[in-house]
Assembly symmetry: C2
Homo-oligomer: 168 residues x 2
Amino acid sequence: MYHLLYPLRSYLIVSGHQKTNVMTADWLTILSKEPFIIGVAISPKRYTYRLIKESGEFVVAVPTLEILGDVWVAGTKSTPDKLKYMKISFIESEKVKTKSVKEAVANLECKLIDERNYGDHTFFVGEVVHFMYDGEAFKNMVPDLKYKFLAHVAMNEFTTFEEKIYEC
Amino acid sequence: MYHLLYPLRSYLIVSGHQKTNVMTADWLTILSKEPFIIGVAISPKRYTYRLIKESGEFVVAVPTLEILGDVWVAGTKSTPDKLKYMKISFIESEKVKTKSVKEAVANLECKLIDERNYGDHTFFVGEVVHFMYDGEAFKNMVPDLKYKFLAHVAMNEFTTFEEKIYEC
């Protein structure tokens, strides 16, 4: 009944040195502001699991509605072979050997600092050692909802945010 | 620069046995499907931190736009004194002594199974031992976007989801 916490944002997890793989993950959270630490739960069945174990790194890329098709492929197909069905491209990262996603509005480069097994997933904890982002999509540190950040509703259903802000 | 992962869903964390406290948390994720395990990052400065340590329990309540005012108070004021500024009410939970929120569309009762310090927050990991939910808001395990689930954009700005589904 994890659906009770949905919709959740969908992110792309890039991993691998020799070969670059990319998968979609909704089970991701911020853990600390300073230092900036995040965590993502990944099933040991995923190819990405093995690549993160091997490399001790991963990159979190922030997709928008524009690349929803790729987010779907990355979440449903396995191994880097899936890339032939996708249109995104990779660029060099700054502080890790794992690549970043050119078409993402932000890329967070993470070095693995902890991993914990919880039930059917492993929680990979990474310190964000560098980030790149589109200054228009995050002006003054505030995400601009015009950029249509993706959220996963259920199965093959995604949504995005109203462009209306409710001020408290 | 944790803002790069925003907007994020906002949830209410209920804690305490003798006295009930409630705070707002965005830094929450699912960790495992079976068993159903979730985790939430909470600053040691928060009153909730002490209550979860003492009781070994917490409840995650899912708020909607209807109680945004309370979500804001719960996130910005401290100690159970804040409740006098709020309109939500508490009901008995089923499997934990910590109360649930009557006005939430779902309540997930958690027993603490792990805690880890990451930077400036502690990550509390709980097994969901029971849940209650509004069957209209989650028909066939799919959240109905008509219910206007809350997402935090920045500071005092919140939003909710488009009622449009993009099918892959």
